[in-house]
C-alpha cells in the first residue's frame, strides 16, 4: 500500500499540533500500544477506529498527558490548547452541578461566554439545568460546549456518541463539523460509527494495539488489514458504506483479526 504512509512525513512544521513517535504503552502486564506513530496537523479531522481493547482510549489519554508512554514520545506544540470530551463522565449524585457551573471548570467564565458556547453546540437554555437532569444528547452537547470554551487548537473526542440513538449521534456529528468550521480546530476522535467516520474524516487510523493501517478513508477502507478487523459482517453501517461506494464484497470468518493485521 504505497499510500498508507503518505501523510506521515513532509508537512510544514508550523502546521503540526501533535507528533506521536514510536510510542509503546503497557497497562499492567498488557501491552496496550506498541510502536505507534501518529501526527495531527492544524484543522484536520483524524479518526481512530479499532476493535474494543485495541488501545484507542489509551492513545488519546497519552496525547492529553494522562498516561506516560513506556517508550517513544508524544510531542505537543508549545502552548497547544486541547478540548477534551471523555468517553464517560459520571457525576456523583451528591455533587450539585448545573451545566453553566460545569462550563466554568476549571476556568471561571462569564455568563455571556457560557451562553455563547451553549448556543454554538445547539444547547441554548440548558445553563441552569443540573447535569444529572440532562438527556444523553444534551449531556454530550454540554461536554462539547465545555471542550470548546478554551478555543482549542485540537478537539479530542473519545466516542462522543456513546449511548445516543441514531438521530442523536447524527446531530452531534453535525455539531462537531460545525465547531470545526467555526473554530478551525483540528479534531481527533475515536468512533464506532464507521459510515460517519468514512464520510467526515480527512484521515483514518486503524488501530489494534499498533497502527494496522492509516490514510484517507478510501485507502483505509480498502486495506486488507482494515477488512480483517471490520469485515465480519456485523457492522451494517460499513457494509452499507461499501455497498454504496466501492462495491467490493467481503468474506466472513476473519475472527482472528489480530493475527491478520500485520503492517507496522
Amino acid at each position: 500500500m504505497p499510500g498508507l504512509h503518505a501523510n506521515k512525513r513532509g508537512r510544514c512544521p508550523g502546521m503540526r499540533l501533535v507528533t506521536v513517535d514510536r510510542m509503546s504503552v503497557k497497562r499492567g502486564s498488557h501491552q496496550a500500544l506498541s510502536n505507534v506513530d501518529l501526527t495531527i496537523d492544524k484543522g484536520e479531522i483524524v479518526t481512530i477506529v479499532g476493535p474494543n481493547g485495541s488501545g484507542k482510549s489509551t492513545l488519546l489519554r497519552c496525547i492529553i498527558g494522562a498516561l506516560k508512554p513506556d517508550s517513544g514520545t508524544v510531542l505537543r506544540e508549545a502552548g497547544l490548547r486541547i478540548g477534551y470530551v471523555p468517553q464517560r463522565l459520571s457525576i456523583d449524585a451528591t455533587m450539585p452541578l448545573t451545566a453553566a457551573r460545569f462550563l466554568s471548570l476549571p476556568t471561571k467564565r462569564s455568563k455571556r461566554e457560557i451562553q455563547e458556547a451553549l448556543a454554538q453546540v445547539g444547547a441554548e437554555g440548558l445553563g441552569n439545568r443540573p447535569m444529572a437532569g440532562l438527556s444523553g444528547g444534551q449531556f454530550q452537547r454540554v461536554l462539547l460546549a465545555r471542550a470548546i470554551m478554551d478555543k482549542p487548537d485540537l478537539l479530542i473526542l473519545d466516542e462522543p456518541t456513546t449511548g445516543l440513538d441514531q438521530p442523536g449521534s447524527a446531530d452531534l456529528y453535525t455539531q462537531i463539523e460545525q465547531v470545526r468550521r467555526d473554530t478551525g480546530a483540528a479534531i481527533l476522535m475515536v468512533s464506532h460509527e464507521l459510515h460517519v467516520v468514512m464520510s467526515a474524516s480527512d484521515r483514518v487510523v486503524c488501530l489494534n494495539g499498533h497502527v494496522c493501517c492509516h490514510g484517507t478513508p478510501e485507502i483505509v477502507a480498502s486495506a486488507p488489514e482494515y477488512r480483517a478487523l471490520f469485515g465480519t459482517g456485523t457492522h451494517g453501517a460499513l457494509a452499507l458504506y461499501r455497498h454504496e461506494h466501492d462495491h467490493h464484497h467481503h468474506e466472513h470468518g476473519h475472527d482472528h483479526a489480530h493475527d491478520t493485521c500485520g503492517s507496522h
Binding site: 492529553i64 471523555p86 455533587m95 476549571p106
Partner: protein, 275 residues
C-alpha cells in the same frame, strides 16, 4: 437559651471553658465543611476513617515521646493518608485495603496506648473528644489549622472540582489530579489532627460527611453546598454543646447527634419542597 458569659472578667472571654468549646467546635466545623464535600463527592468516607483512626496511634506515640499531641496525630494521620493514597493509585482493592488499614490502625493505636505507663491518659477523650477541656493554646492550633485548610481548599477549589469530576478532563486542562489528591490528603490530615480533641477519632468522619450530606439536599452548586455544610456544622457544634451542657451528655457525640438531626430535617424539607 444559655449564653455563657463571664462578666466577672471582661478582659478575656476565652477564660470561659464553654466559650472556648464553642469556638473550638465552630472552628472544626468550618474546616470540615469544604473538605467534607469532597469526601462525599469522591466517596472517601472510609479513607477518612483510616486517617482518623491512625491518629490514635499518633496520640499514643506523642504521649510516649512527650511531644505535642497535635503534632503526633498530624504526622501519623498524614503518613496513613499518603500510604492509602499511594496504594490506591497502584490499583489495590481499595475498599478492602481501607478496611484493613482503618481497623488495624485503630487496634494498634489502642494497644500502643495500653503500653503507656506513668501517663495519665483518658483514652475516651481521644476516641470521643474532650471539647470542654480545650485550652487557649488548643484553640489557637484549631483555628490556625482550620484557616490553613480553608485556604488550601479555596486556592485549589476549581482544580479539585475538575479532578473530582474526571481525571482525564483535569489532565487535558493541564491539572495534575494526583497533586490535587495529595493536597486533599494533607487537608484531611490537618482536619483530623485539629478535630481529635473536639469530636474524637471515631467521630471525625461524621463531622466531615453529615453536614455536607445535609447541605446537599438544598444546594444547587458545589459552593452553596460547602457554605451550607459550614453553616450546618457550626449549628451542630453550638447545638450539641448546649445539649451537652444541659443534659450532661458527652459533648462530641452530642454534636454529631445534632448534625444527624439537621441532616434528617434538611433532607425531609427538600423532599417536601420538591413535591
Amino acid at each position: 437559651m444559655i449564653m455563657p458569659m463571664t462578666p466577672a472578667d471582661p478582659t478575656d472571654m476565652f477564660d470561659d471553658f464553654l466559650i472556648r468549646a464553642l469556638f473550638a467546635g465552630v472552628g472544626v466545623a468550618l474546616a470540615a465543611a469544604p473538605l467534607g464535600c469532597f469526601v462525599v463527592w469522591r466517596r472517601m468516607a472510609y479513607f477518612g476513617d483510616a486517617t482518623a483512626h491512625a491518629a490514635i496511634l499518633g496520640v499514643a506515640l506523642s504521649l510516649a515521646l512527650g511531644v505535642s499531641v497535635f503534632a503526633g496525630a498530624l504526622a501519623i494521620a498524614l503518613a496513613m493518608a499518603l500510604t492509602v493514597s499511594n496504594l490506591s493509585e497502584k490499583g489495590f482493592g481499595v475498599d478492602t485495603l481501607l478496611g484493613v488499614l482503618a481497623h488495624s490502625a485503630l487496634a494498634f493505636g489502642l494497644v500502643a496506648v495500653s503500653f503507656l505507663q506513668g501517663v495519665r491518659l483518658d483514652l475516651m477523650s481521644y476516641l470521643f473528644g474532650d471539647i470542654l477541656a480545650v485550652s487557649k493554646g488548643d484553640l489557637i492550633v484549631i483555628w490556625a489549622g482550620a484557616a490553613l485548610v480553608v485556604t488550601l481548599m479555596a486556592w485549589r477549589w476549581q482544580a479539585l472540582l475538575t479532578s473530582t469530576l474526571n481525571r482525564d478532563l483535569a489532565y487535558a486542562n493541564g491539572i495534575n489530579p494526583q497533586r490535587e489528591q495529595q493536597i486533599m490528603t494533607l487537608a484531611l490530615a490537618i482536619v483530623v489532627a485539629v478535630a481529635i480533641k473536639v469530636v474524637g477519632a471515631l467521630l471525625i468522619v461524621a463531622m466531615l460527611i453529615i453536614p455536607a450530606a445535609g447541605a446537599r439536599a438544598m444546594a444547587r452548586s458545589p459552593e452553596i453546598m460547602a457554605v451550607g455544610a459550614a453553616a450546618l456544622g457550626a449549628l451542630a457544634a453550638v447545638g450539641g454543646l448546649m445539649a451537652s451542657y444541659h443534659l450532661d451528655t458527652p459533648a462530641g457525640p452530642s454534636i454529631v447527634c445534632v448534625a444527624a438531626g439537621l441532616f434528617v430535617v434538611m433532607t425531609l424539607a427538600a423532599r417536601l419542597r420538591s413535591k
